[in-house]
């Protein structure tokens, strides 16, 4: 019953997958937030 390797591989894929997805989500969110701030700033400057 030496199948620890498979157990490890499955876990690696699942956790790797989840963590990678969360990471890309965060990255994307941060980009969007930055864009939003930038837009708001320019809008404010223009309206003044």
């Amino acid at each position: 019953m030496d199948n620890f390797g498979f157990l490890f591989a499955a876990n690696a894929f699942v956790w790797g997958g989840i963590i990678y997805y969360v990471y890309t989500l965060k990255q994307r969110s941060r980009e969007l937030e930055r864009d939003l701030e930038l837009l708001k700033e320019t809008l404010n400057r223009e309206s003044r």
């Binding site: 019953m1 030496d2 499955a10 894929f13 699942v14 997958g17 997805y21 937030e33």
Partner: protein, 237 residues
């Protein structure tokens, strides 16, 4: 826009993050420390505690796509379109994880990576349907057409599940049924400790779904907000 509500929802999402984290830690402890090793399959059987919850999560996500698609066609509100999109994406990701962990589990137990087992085959078809759904979304311009088409596909795709289930089941009836997830349902021939562990893991994955949904929805709304501001800026100048 409203400062107070965003702060409030931020607080809520922090609670959700912590809760999810803690439940996951408990689930991990249960999977690797608490639950006894299964007699015939050995340690590899512990894959079940992430395999089944992933499968559950993706089916649940696809169900949400179905519900949101119906609600969208009924109400025609962008809100439901966002929910359906977010849920489909999360569903596809966990469906992929099921398709990866399935063969890894199958190899040591059945001796091959892939058997055309009814459940694995159905999952593969389901994965293809929702990848097509995401492709359809990616290839159309944002707007009411994309939302309507996606909603139709979300409904058509989910209604296909019973047909896939029965056709694939009758297609190959002779292969060995996996012992732990026998067709009589979960739990037959499973010990209480295993059921408890599975339950905790299911909880953890469900919480994760809501956490990811929250993030994904917030993102889409940010995108919409950016689009709106861009247009405003263009017209005001």
């Amino acid at each position: 826009m409203n400062q107070e509500t965003t702060e409030e929802s931020n607080e809520e999402s922090y609670i959700l993050v912590w809760l999810t984290g803690i439940v996951f830690l408990v689930a991990m402890a249960a999977i690797f420390l608490f639950v006894p090793t299964e007699q015939t399959e050995g340690p590899v059987q512990r894959i079940m505690y992430i395999h089944i919850p992933s499968a559950w999560l993706s089916f649940f996500a696809f169900f949400i796509v179905f519900i949101c698609s119906i609600l969208f066609l009924w109400k025609k509100e962008r809100e439901w379109d966002i929910y359906a999109h977010a849920s489909a994406e999360i569903g596809v990701i966990f469906c992929s994880l099921v398709l990866i962990t399935g063969p890894i589990w199958a190899k040591p137990i059945w001796g091959t990576w892939w058997v055309w087992d009814a459940r694995l085959t159905s999952t593969l078809i389901l994965w293809l349907i929702y990848v097509a759904y995401l492709m359809l979304r990616a290839q159309t311009e944002a707007g009411s057409m994309r939302a309507r088409y996606a909603a139709v596909l979300g409904i058509v795709g989910f209604l296909n599940i019973p047909f896939i289930h029965f056709s694939v089941l009758w297609w190959r009836t002779f292969h060995p049924q996996p012992k732990v997830i026998s067709s009589e349902g979960f739990g037959k021939g499973m010990e209480t400790s295993m059921l408890v562990t599975l339950g905790i893991s299911l909880c953890a994955f469900t919480l994760l779904y809501f956490l990811l949904m929250g993030q994904r929805i917030r993102q889409e709304k940010l995108k919409d907000e950016i689009d709106r501001l861009k247009r405003e800026q263009l017209y005001s100048s």
